[in-house]
Amino acid sequence: MSSDTLAKIPAVPDAPDHADSLRIVPQRRFGQWAAAVVVLALLGLALTSVLRNKAFQWGVVADYFTSDAVLRGLWLTLWLTAVVMVLGFALGTLLAVFRLSANPVLRSVSWGYVWLFRSIPVLVQLLLWFNIGALYPELFGVKTVDLLGPAQVAVVGLTLHEAAYAAEVVRGGLLSVERGQIEAAQALGLSRWRRLRRIVLPQAMRSIVPPAGNMLIGTLKGTAIVSVIAVNDLLFSAQLIYHRTYQVIPLLMVATLWYTVVTSVLGVGQYYVERHYARGSERAR
């Protein structure tokens, strides 16, 4: 077909001669608009209901938000989270290295540990440690109750639980490192420890950090469980106040807002940690 005949066929029967002056009208998406309006209206209703509901007692929330008792509780929550994370990941890394070692005994022990501590609910574990004195009234010549107060029980229980999950996260990270990296390091004569610390772990961190960030946030909120054994964390501090004043909701709001604030800060931190370990990768450029 020659261009001559093409030109003679009109695009549409009554098309005007000047095609460039035609206006394009996007399809009207009434459904989308309607859905957006409905959702926004519902959100607005919920928000005004929350803000106008006197029972929330936002004034009380403001009063207690930075009170000494709450800040002390917050501090304990942060401290407990940090200690449990550090100890849990240290033990977890050890377990992951055991699991990947050539020694069948170490491999089995590591597998057994993860199986056991993932099987026991952390609440049950805390209660068991809290009552360990019934099994062993004395440890190292000291009364068990004196050795393991509520805070120590919280650290032990949460760490053992954390380590089981951390072991799997670290193991996944170690497995993500190409076998050739280890061989190259061996061929260069790098010691076992140096290979792990300098070559394997930094590369494993790329796959460890996202789930570890998840665990950190999970642990932060998970520490609230220690309120059952009367550890003065953020939640328990709030509870102590409302048991006295009966202002249950506003104090739960205080705790909720603090958990939200800390979680948000941690999320920002994770972004920078991930960027650090992306050195040399395509997406880092």
């Binding site: 050739g180 190259a184 061996q186 260069l188 300098r198 070559i199």
Partner: protein
């Protein structure tokens, strides 16, 4: 000339699969030995046994008069602790087919890592040495780059510089150009040719027949876990005595 590598009666199996069926091979100091053979012939495995990346099931390998991976006492061979093996490896450079540079370290850090941590060299000295090696492989301006920012040929040249940083007595190349785009093969072979010209003892597993003809002092043809034929390139490549060698060469040439 003295013997640098002495391989005697080496056998190796992976489960039911026997990969090396009794290998005897001597490499003299300053010579370039090129190992040819079809894939699965055992040539890479043989190379990996020389720095004990693979343990042998039988036989002995010595480099520069030292038994690799074992200590002999009477008619027994006692496996050396890893620490000793690692020390032996620092005298043997190994270049992998897929480079295996450390992606999270810069080019310079890749090269200085082993001298600093395995040989305890002062960092400053290692860095200076690394700069010199990079200049030698034509990458003086890439010290601060990360491996992924380099082409395959450049990465392999960095890998060669990394192996040289330990000042090895022996260099082993495991198909150094097989993972490269055709137009990048030349730059890597140029570097290896340079090293050969300077009298470095090398064993090169490769499929580059032209390179073998030009650089090798000794060509070894392997098939099915055995050395079928060896000798100067003019003999093995141009007047092969064995039918199996002729068949292989007719396919790759």
């Amino acid at each position: 000339m003295s013997v640098m590598v002495d391989i005697r009666s080496v056998r190796k199996s992976f489960g039911a699969l026997t990969v090396l069926k009794g290998i005897d091979l001597q490499v003299r100091s300053g010579e370039v030995t090129v190992v040819l053979g079809p894939s699965g012939s055992g040539k890479s495995t043989l190379l990996r046994t020389i720095n004990h990346l693979e343990k042998v099931d039988q036989g002995v390998i010595s480099v520069d008069g030292t038994l690799i991976g074992y200590r002999r006492s009477g008619d027994r061979l006692y496996e050396l602790p890893e620490r000793e093996v690692l020390k032996q490896r620092t005298r043997i450079g190994f270049v992998f087919q897929n480079f295996h540079l450390f992606p999270h370290l810069t080019v310079e850090e890749n090269i200085t890592e082993a001298p600093v941590s395995a040989l305890k060299r002062p960092r400053k000295e290692a860095v200076e040495n690394a700069r010199g090696l990079l200049a030698r492989v034509g990458l003086a301006d890439k010290a601060e780059a990360y491996p992924r920012q380099l082409s395959g040929g450049q990465q392999q040249r960095v890998a060669i510089a990394r192996a040289l940083a330990l000042e090895p007595k022996l260099l082993l190349f495991d198909e150094p150009t097989s993972a490269l785009d055709p137009e990048l093969v030349g730059e890597v072979l140029d570097v290896i040719r340079d090293l050969a010209g300077q009298g470095t003892t090398m064993i090169v597993v490769t499929h580059e027949i032209g390179f073998a003809r030009e650089v090798a002092d000794n060509v070894v043809f392997m098939d099915d876990g055995r050395i079928v034929e060896q000798g100067p390139p003019a003999d093995v490549l141009d007047r092969p005595q064995q039918e199996r060698t002729r068949a292989f060469l007719s396919k790759v040439l």
